[in-house]
């Protein structure tokens, strides 16, 4: 992981697109330093328009959320939760524990195994690439906005009145253009601590599990992987290591892909339509 230098999967050229290898991001907040280089690298590479954000007062997070023009977002978490000997010295409260902890996590589109946005897209603009990432074809999207309410993670959004790409839906592209050329996505490439790891999904999952074991051995008892494989999303390609509950990182604890509601909704549509048909014809026939 850290210290692998040019041998790291973040640095090596690859052929994942050509070989159709499912790839992923593994984002590890325990080594994130909150520098926001990923946000900057993403904006620069993808030519994403700037957004003027207020000074929020929410720690150092003035980006607030992922959206049409924010594809990486560093969360700054402040918790007054004693948890292991993270900071030694005068900051401690005397019993060897920290009085608080400050965690940073770079959030990104999850590239779901079953993606709400992709399922819902009526134009077929949203597609799955060779590496199983979810990609919005900007030249097809007509900006209907259905993906916005279909994403269980609140990631994708429609760009309003902001050139370029006004009116279309935008989200992380997984730097598909870079990946075709064998390059690492801009955010992972720019990450100075390899908090963002890019590579084949299977390798990253093994790495993630190892990292959780490591952290638990170091008394971070609430370390866990966030990869909702047990829900209808069936896993995410950009998964995270978390200290504590997912909702503290604004990650839904049980995300569900909206297509699970299809059967009930369509059933009700057909039943209501037939009820109306039968009722109106009978009423007109007999009255």
């Amino acid at each position: 992981m850290i210290g692998e230098g040019i041998l790291s999967s973040n640095q090596k050229p690859h052929k994942h697109v050509q070989e159709e290898v499912p790839v992923g991001f593994f984002t590890d907040p325990t080594v994130c330093i909150g520098c926001k280089a990923c946000e900057v690298a993403c904006k620069e590479w993808n030519n994403v328009p700037a957004e003027v954000n207020p000074w929020t007062g929410h720690s150092y997070d003035n980006t607030l959320s992922l959206g049409a023009s924010t594809w990486r977002h560093v969360l700054f978490l402040e918790e007054a939760k004693p948890r292991g000997p993270q900071i030694a010295g005068p900051m401690g409260n005397g019993n060897g524990q920290d009085p608080f902890r400050w965690v940073f996590l770079s959030d990104v589109c999850k590239h779901c195994e079953v993606a709400g946005c992709l399922e819902s897209c009526p134009t077929g603009a949203i597609m799955r690439t060779e590496t199983q990432s979810v990609y919005v074809q900007d030249d097809v999207c007509n900006g209907c906005g259905y993906c916005v309410v279909s994403c269980p993670f609140g990631v994708i959004d429609r760009r309003e009145n902001t050139a370029p790409g006004k009116g279309g839906a935008f989200k992380c592209t997984f730097c598909y253009d870079r990946q075709i050329s064998g390059l690492t996505p801009a955010c992972a490439k720019a990450c100075p601590t390899e908090s963002i790891r890019f590579g084949p999904l299977k390798d990253l999952q093994v790495e993630g599990r190892k990292r959780v074991q490591e952290l638990r051995a170091q008394s971070y008892q609430d370390a866990q992987l966030y990869d909702p494989t047990e829900t209808s999303v069936r896993g995410i390609h950009a998964f995270f290591l978390l200290l504590g509950r997912p909702e503290n990182y604004r990650l839904p604890p049980r995300p569900e892909v909206p297509t699970i509601y299809l059967a009930a909704a369509y059933g009700s549509v057909v039943a209501t339509a037939l009820l109306a048909l039968a009722f109106v014809l009978c009423v007109f026939a007999f009255l």
Partner: protein
């Protein structure tokens, strides 16, 4: 000012010298990296992320709510036209087809208007995806428009010919086929909009996935019949349809008032969106029913139409309110119990008694002393 800081530091130094450590909390600048709640860990347990929402609110504007209303009205007008055709009431066929045909034109206009890139509206017909109600709906709107708009033309043509005493069988047959086509597409046009918002990640909508198509379909049926009545038709069949639709809305309203989903769909009951929805429901449900029972047919029809329009706005704004409410999303995924133990202190909703208590128990004495 500096003297006060120096004095505070001197006090701390003295405390450290005497006790071998400092127990008092230090200076806590507002908005600094160290939370002001320091020392009261329970206040920060499971706080969510600054009360920011999990979901993105819908980007749809008023056009979509109006479309839900117009689509329901037009779709079910197609069905009324079929029934009237069956009965041989050509004048009523004509009136209902005017509703259907105008709706068949207005619906795609409203939908296209709301698109982020309106010039690409035809991309909707690039693919057919059964798993996307928006895609299915685009095809339904297209099929309905393709039947209702020329259908209106042929019905009018036929009507003009009848007035002139000449009957052309070909026109009559084509008109009949198009009317039946509008009716068949129409019953799905009026109901699919419920599925459209139900098959989303917004809890206030998806929790009512069975209710919504029924609710919207019945609202459409009542609106279509009300429209025909406002055009001057009075007959028991229309009155029975009106009673049926209004009773259905009363049931919907009663069901919603049960609040069986707790905090997850509270946007339907509380706040501005809750009231818009409730007013719409009251107009198209109890009020329309009462007016109709009292024999005030046009008043009942107007109340129903107004209610059907307002409740569509209510549903749309409830979706926005719900998506912006992190506690509702958490409640829908983990239940109210989990929500109670991890209430967001920063959320826009008024704080509960328990969270106020934990806030007031914070050790702010030192900060106050310092500021004074």
């Amino acid at each position: 000012m500096n003297d006060r800081f120096e004095k505070r530091l001197d006090d701390l130094r003295e405390e450290a010298r005497n006790k071998g450590g400092v127990t008092a909390a230090g200076v806590k600048p507002v908005g600094g990296p160290i939370p002001a709640q320091l020392g009261a860990p329970e206040a920060m347990l499971g706080t969510g992320y600054y009360g920011l929402p999990f979901l993105k609110p819908p980007v749809w504007k008023w056009m979509i709510a109006v479309y839900f209303f117009i689509g329901g009205l037009a779709g079910m007008s197609g069905l009324i036209a079929v029934a009237a055709l069956m009965k041989g009431q050509y004048q009523m066929v004509r009136v209902a087809m005017w509703s259907a045909g105008m709706g068949g034109i207005l619906s795609p206009v409203l939908l296209t208007w709301d698109l982020g890139r309106p010039t690409r509206f035809l991309n909707m017909l690039r693919v057919f995806k059964y798993q996307s109600p928006m895609s299915v709906g685009s095809w339904i709107v297209s099929a309905f428009g393709a039947c209702a708009v020329p259908g209106l033309g042929f019905v009018e043509w036929h009507w003009q010919n009848m007035q002139g005493g000449q009957l052309t069988p070909a026109v009559q047959i084509i008109a009949a086929i198009l009317v039946i086509g509008s009716g068949m597409a129409g019953i799905f046009l009026a109901t699919y909009t419920g599925a459209l918002i139900a098959v989303t990640a917004v809890p206030a909508w998806n929790l009512h996935r069975v209710l919504l198509p029924f609710h919207f379909g019945m609202a459409g049926l009542g609106s279509a019949s009300a429209m025909v009545e406002l055009a001057g038709f009075r007959q028991p069949a229309l009155n029975v349809i009106g009673l049926f639709a209004a009773s259905a809305q009363v049931l919907v309203m009663l069901y919603l008032e049960l609040r069986k989903h707790g905090a997850a769909d509270r946007a339907l009951h509380e706040g501005k969106s809750g009231w818009v929805l409730r007013i719409g429901e009251a107009l198209e449900g109890p009020l329309a029913l009462a007016l109709r029972a009292a024999g005030l047919v046009p008043e009942a029809a107007i109340a129903f139409l107004l209610g059907a329009l307002i409740s569509r706005f209510g549903w749309l704004s409830a979706g926005t309110a719900c998506a912006n409410d992190p506690e509702a999303v958490l409640a829908s995924q983990c239940g109210d119990k989990r929500l109670a133990e991890s209430r967001f202190p920063h959320a826009l909703e008024p704080a509960t008694a328990s969270s106020q208590q934990s806030r007031s128990s914070l050790p702010r004495k030192n900060t106050k002393e310092h500021k004074a």
